[in-house]
């Protein structure tokens, strides 16, 4: 068993988990934050994306033990004081989701790469979203939302 102490969305947690526990299972099953999804078992879909110490990672491919001492942000931690994060707001307005399964991961990936590249070109948006798969939207409106979010955030 491993003792894992970490902050999730600003709240300190401590869990005793099996060594093989994945970060995504700690988040979903132990912390009961089910906004983070699991869409594959090959580390390819990005539905499980969260921020670990400020950068986007696939939480299905990180052991809970590796996240000991880390600060994690999940989709539940994005809205502040009842106000959606600009990326969430843009996804809503641009109709960037249909079933919504990929959306939490998309939003975490987008908010991750906008930190590095606040004014991405279309090409850079495609490259930045290579780790996330959406089976519904065809990506057109997702790219639109990224541009709109970038605009709002640079204001």
């Amino acid at each position: 068993m491993a003792k894992v102490e970490l902050k999730i969305n600003g709240v300190q947690h401590s869990y005793d988990v099996e060594d093989r526990t994945l970060l995504v299972n700690l988040i979903r099953d132990h912390a009961q934050l089910t906004g983070t999804h699991v869409g594959c078992d090959t580390s390819q879909c990005g539905a499980c994306t969260v921020h670990m110490n400020g950068v986007a990672v696939k939480s299905c491919t990180v052991l809970a033990g590796q996240a000991d001492g880390a600060e994690i942000t999940t989709i539940e931690g994005m809205a502040k004081n009842g106000k959606l994060h600009p990326v969430q707001q843009a996804f809503t307005e641009c109709h960037a989701l249909q079933c919504g399964f990929c959306t939490p991961g998309m939003i975490m990936a987008v908010s991750g790469f906008l930190k590095d590249n606040p004014k991405p070109t279309d090409e850079e948006i495609y490259h930045g979203l290579e780790g996330n798969i959406c089976r519904c939207t065809g990506y057109i409106n997702i790219v639109k939302a990224v541009k709109q979010a970038a605009k709002t955030m640079s204001k």
Partner: protein, 275 residues
Amino acid sequence: MHTFSYVKAKSLKEAGDMLAAHADAKLLAGGMTLIPTMKARLAQPSHLIDIAGIAELSGIDVKNGRLTIGAATRHVEVAKSAVVKKAIPTLAYLASQIGDPQVRNRGTIGGSLANNDPAADYPSAALSLNATIVTNKREIAADDFFQGIFTTALGAGEMIVKIVFPIPAKAAYEKFPHPASGFAMAGSFVSQDGKAVRVAITGAGPGVFRWKDAEAALGKKLAAASVENLNVDATDLNEDMHGTKEYRANLAKVMTKRAVAKLAGTAATSKSSGK
């Protein structure tokens, strides 16, 4: 996943001792290959020794015409490093093309070289640039390090500490990425230093290899036309649902021509990232 014990190593020595103590232990760096492999139950280590936090395995620096990168350096750090961009911009570009952002935020250069996936990007850079792989036991030349599919010269209890790249006059990398994973269907890393040109092909064969006919021709004249009449021998190349041997042989040639065209125009020390 099967059960295992997870331990964080604090120093190189500690990691080495743990490796020696447990025959079925494995090192864990970024986990971007090992964890998916374990989830698929294709590996069953008794212990995972996390080396990501070991200070001796990190750092990037340039000295005496050589660029040294610590084994636990993540792809994103190489891609963004001002030092790498100045010394060997093509290496920073290569790192920026690995997988996707989330994979680059975790995966490490040491893990990639140790794993030696036949379609991985870094092995082509190490082989073309004639890098030295420094382990906790010895130094290994890239020409001796890569030994075919998922196989390297690393022995039991051996760990990559850092990779030393001689800085070339010019270098360029071109890959045809698999549309889903980003891994190379075929990639060609071409570097030139003085009269020596080295061409390393990844993705096409069961492991990274040097295309020596192209090296000889490009050594005489560094132009895409020099390889026009050459062909990569398709006999031992990979064949799967994504492409035949012949298709991959052709892709390797096309990627080489593109890399040469890029390299003929840009010096390795220019600010161009090779994009």
